[in-house]
Each structure stands twice: as C-alpha cells, then as structure tokens.
Symmetry: C2
Subunit: 384 residues, 2 copies
C-alpha cells in the first residue's frame, strides 16, 4: 500500500461547451486544482494529460507540451491515451512517477472536446477505440458492441431490460444532485423504454452522451503539502484484454476489470466489501452491471438484481456513480477517469453536498477503455 | 545515475511498407527484441507504446491494449504521445516505471504507419503537432516552421545554405551503411540545391520523409537477465516549451533541448565532451545544427562550422546520426525515438557493422516533438 496525496482537484462544467476551446477547458480545471491545493505552478515536477483523440476531434495532438506551456511550465509533460480510460491511465502514470522518486508533485489533467465534430464523425472517432481492422471497418459502433455484451448477459443470467434501464434512472437521479453534470433531469424506466432504439436492447437513454469537459487532480508525495482533509490514492491496478470481442473467452465479464481490480485490492489490502462507494465506467447501462460483478460487489450474474434491489443507489449498501456517472454527468472520454477521481476526493472530504455518502472512508474508481480492452482501477482512502 | 538494462532490441525495415499493417510492424519489432534478449513474453510487466497519430493515420487509437493483446499479454499497456518525440517519451515512461519498483521488465515499442494516407492528408496530420489554433489553422506546415528557424539562424550567425545541405549529405552517407534505412543512396550538396524547393531555404532533400516502421527495446532492472554485452540507460531528461514559435524568446535555440540535456547530463554525471556519438532529431537539416549547439557539442552559432568541419561524420570527433538519422533512415514519427535507442545499443554492443563508431562508450539520443515544444534526451553507456 502506498500513500499518494490527492492535494487538489478541479473540474469544469460537463456538457456542450461551444464557447470554450480544448486548452481553455484544460487550464480552467488545472487552475482550480492549484488553487484548491494552494500549490504554485513552479512546484509541479511533471504534468500528465489524459486524452483520447484530440487529433481527430480538434486537429491538435501534442497536448502535454501545449497545456504545460499554456500554464507557463517547461517541466516534463506527457499525454497518455487508452481510449476512454485515458484519464485513469494518466493518474496511474503520475502514481508511477511519484513512486519512481523523480517527482514530488504531479498535475494530472483529463480533457476532451468532442462536440465540435458532427455527431457522425464523433462516432467514427470513438470507433478508433475498437479494433479498426476487425470491428470498426465492418461498421460496428460502440452501442453495437455493448449491445452484444448485454444480449449475452440477458441470455446467460436472465438480466432484464428493466434492470438495464434502472442503471440509467439511478445515474440521472444522482446527476440531478451534481452541479457540473451534463444532464440534471430525472428519468423513469418508461422514459428509457420510450427513448429511440440505438442497438437493441440499448436505447438512447442507455447510452452515455458526447461531452466537452476537463478535470484535474494534483497528486503529491504524502508530506509534500499540509492539507486539512487529506485523501490518499493507495493503490493502482491496470490490465488489458483483446480489443476485439471475438477474441475473448467470455462476453459476460471484462477480464481486464477483474485483473486490474485484483491488483488494486491486493495492493490496498482490502476486500470488495470494504469499498464504501465507487465510480464505475457506465458508458452503457450494461457496463455498470458488468462492473458490479467484475469488481466483486456481487456474484457473477447477479448484477441485475444488485441494481434492482437498490444496492447501488445513494441510500444503498454501496452507492455507485454518485457523480451521475458517464450516463448523466457526461463522458468527455479523456476526462472521465480524472472526473471519477475528483468525485472520490469530494466524497472522502465530505464535500459532495446532497449526494454525500455518509461515513465513507474508502472509494474505488473504475475506468474502462473500448469495450473492455483497457481497465484502470484506483483505490482512495480518507486520511483523517 | 541509474542503470537500466537495455536487454533486447528490434527494428523493422523503414520505408513504404504497403504489405504490412500497423500492428504487424509493431509485433515484428517486439518479437525481435524478445528473441534478442531471450526473454519470454510472460516476463514482461508493462508495455509502453510510442505513437503520434495512428488515430488519423490508420483510424486506430488504443494501441497499448491492441499491441499487448496481439502479443498475448494482459499486463499494463500504455500509449504515450508527444508528436515526433512519442518514442523517446515511451522509453522515459518505462524508465520511470522501472524506478517506481512496480516493474522489473518493460517492453517499449515505437510505431507509425504513415504511408497509407495521401501525402496532403499526412501533412495535415503532422501539422497536429504544431499549435492548431495559432499555427496550423493559418496554413503553416512543419517545413515552413523550420524554414523560419533556419532563416533566423542564417541571419544571426551566418550559417550558410551549404552547411545545411552538408547535414543531409552526411546522413545519406551514413544511411547508405544501414540495412534498414529508407534511403541508401548517397547525395551531394548539388543534389540538395537542385531538389525541389519546399519552404525557402529548405529544399526537398533538407526534409525527412514520410515513413512506415517500428522499433522496440526491452528495458529491465539491472540484474533482470544476464546479457553478454550489457548496455545501460543511465539518464533521462525531458522538458517542454511553447508549441507556437511566436511565444518563444529565441528562434535560434530550442529551450526544451537545453533543459532536457542539462537534466540528462547532471543525472549521468557527464559533460557533452564525454559523449562518443549521438542520434539527434534531424527532421530538417537546420534541426541537426540546432541540436549540435543546444546539446553543447559546440558553441551557439557554430553548428554550421561543426558540420562543415566534418566533426559529426563517422570519422569525426563526434559522429552524429550514424543510423542515417531521420533524413535518410526515415522518420516514422512515433518510432523514431525508439529507433535512436536501438542504434545507440547497436553502437555500444559494437554491432553497427560498417557504421561502427570505434571505442564508443557513451551515446546520447535526442528526440524532439513539433518544432521543439517537446524534447527527450537519454544517455546510454557500455556496460562491459
């Protein structure tokens, strides 16, 4: 177990941000994090930027140098990418850099500006997270890939259409309590059923949206700064699986999640039952049900029951996606993993307002790339 | 100073590789490196992939998971990007991971598949390494940016058109001795003068080409495997500057190179005069002249004389770009930084054939992103 201090956090509004550029979003989140930690820019040793596809979304690669120099920094600055897990992976690189002894203070920014592209081009850009030669080329998009996972889960375990919908209903309920969420409207199971079909059994309200947004977190050595309400990153797990679904042994579990979670639990020396709340990667409703199971929150096949019984609601035994998740808070793909960390820190500082999980001491964040080819799991602990 | 073992290397032919896909190039280099080190795949703890823009070049992001799973791995796999410095930066992330204690053996792959796009689209893709809003949008391309640097250097220091051309002549001479080089033809100063103008004063033969290729290196803890001719990575420097030229204090030096070199020299506890050979980032002829100066191989303003006097030829006092450099060996952008490392290891193992630098004990690799916004410098030492 390690104790990496989460010294400061920042986050922009998530949604359609026509008036702000990619770099403006990144800087807004970064400056908030610096202000929050009372750390000066020149104290930063390294910058890590999580971003999936700014080259295609905005014509801009090379975000490490771009954002560092906009912040007036000339330190080591690195962009990392693993599709929708880019943000979580950027946190992990900062964690490795801090453990290496080469850095005392790292700024991590997750950012994506997606709305500037027409929707059909955004969908093609996102498909670059799938296997281009074996999946995307043949026309399958992400709703289609996750629809196959949903179908198989329904077939094997009797998971119902209503259970899928309940994930979206819960996450919109949570999102309604989050000021930065893209969608703050509550929805019903009927609304999900009546929304446009996208890829059966998934309707529009089973799918996370296209979003602009940025989030930032300052990670430091344990004693780098004195913080009134310290929160620690205590473990990091990361694993991969084949990108293409046809190469996997099972369509009802994400092996990368299971492996990354195992690493993280072992490093933190905790069990799934020790987790008080979690932010999981609900890019589609089925993805959250898979996450319950693969993270060990319930038995394999019982994820549908887990949401149906209300276990993952704010008042349940293990609140999941208090931010509103990808579904309601929004999913600026490279920013999502860092947003999850920001929510974990807010919860552990008891600063989550109406969506506060009372008495939470341990939070887990779970960030997935593609249809499960990359998974990054982090564990966060209250330090006071 | 650290001692990270370079246990194995691999590299594909550089050039137009119509018959091989992005993943095939990456795997080919990786398997060579594993074979070279006599390391089994399951011994790899982490994979780092350097790639600039496969999302735009081939429609495929998410290369960490893609290449790991093609290799049958489910370990941590991360793509890093810093434009043309992506390969060097991937090596640096492996170096940090090894120092962190979380990995004993890291595979680093640099890969780019550029030739599948029409040249005009490839040029636009490369322009994503410049500042999109302040440079690329207005139509400037990389030859144009470097032409401005060349003009200013000629104005301030009297650097001549012929001195620029001599860099290309030398690198083609070196490339003629390298079996994997894209161009193995020798050229003359006249050839450079007579080649098509691209952006005055730079002609076609002042510019590195568009290339497909991959390179791989296995980096391990010092005693991870027993190697007959060990070579060590002993220092890593990394710094950034503004992407846009108009924000820089000087157009005749790359601040990022100076900062990264200073870090690397201090960590290795050596001086520039201790370097026996170097692979530097000669994306354009002027870039190599800037590198001589910014790396401390000669005084500021004397880079033109340095090449004119033959100091950087194979028989000179400090041979530079024995591989042929980006100019003649080719420049698959994400692979270049790893190719430089492969060349350094070959030299330090005394396996560089006709282009061997006799008695070399210390080599330096210098990888630049954009027009100098990112620089990564590594120092390599013969360990026997």
């Amino acid at each position: 177990m390690h104790k990496i201090l989460a010294a400061g956090i920042g986050i922009t509004k998530f949604g359609e941000q026509w008036e702000k550029s990619l770099r403006e979003l990144a800087i807004e989140a970064a400056l908030q994090a610096l202000e929050d930690a009372q750390i000066e820019r020149n104290q930063i040793d390294m910058l890590f930027v999580g971003n999936m596809s700014s080259g295609r979304f905005t014509g801009q690669e090379h975000l490490g140098a771009l954002i560092a120099s906009e912040l007036g920094l000339s330190c080591s600055a690195t962009r990392v990418e693993a599709a929708c897990a880019s943000g979580g992976l950027a946190i992990r690189q900062a964690y490795l850099a801090l453990l290496s002894g080469k850095a005392e203070c790292c700024l991590v920014i997750g950012v994506e500006k997606m709305c500037d592209l027409p929707t059909n081009e955004a969908i093609l850009t996102l498909a670059a997270a799938a296997d281009q030669e074996w999946e995307a080329y043949y026309g399958v998009t992400f709703p289609g890939l996750y629809a196959m996972l949903a179908r198989r889960h329904m077939h094997e375990f009797g998971t119902t259409r209503e259970q899928l919908a309940l994930v979206a209903v819960k996450n919109h309920e949570h999102g309604s309590l989050n000021p930065i969420a893209q969608f703050r409207n509550k929805i019903t199971v009927e609304d999900v059923f009546n929304s446009s079909p996208v890829a059966e059994p998934l309707n529009l309200l089973d799918c996370s949206p296209i979003t602009d947004g940025a989030a930032a977190i300052l990670l430091c050595k344990e004693n780098f700064v004195k913080i009134e309400k310290p929160v620690y990153l205590i473990a990091s797990g990361h694993a991969v699986d084949s990108i293409a679904l046809h190469e996997r042994a099972s369509l009802t579990e994400l092996k990368a999640t299971k492996l990354a979670a195992k690493q993280a639990y072992e490093e933190a020396r905790i069990k799934p039952s020790d987790v008080d709340f979690a932010e999981v990667h609900d890019c589609f409703t089925i993805a959250e049900i898979l996450a319950y199971e693969d993270l060990g929150f319930c038995e394999k096949g019982k994820g549908g029951k887990f949401i149906e019984n209300g276990e993952s609601t704010l008042k349940g035994s293990l609140p999941v996606n208090t931010s509103g998740g990808l579904k309601a808070c929004g999913h600026p793909v490279g920013a999502t993993g860092v947003k999850q960390a920001v929510e974990a820190v807010l919860q552990l500082r008891e600063e989550a307002g109406e969506r506060q999980v009372k008495g939470a001491r341990i939070g887990l964040t779970h960030n997935v790339g593609g249809s499960g080819a990359t998974c990054v799991v982090h564990i966060w602990e209250k330090g006071y």
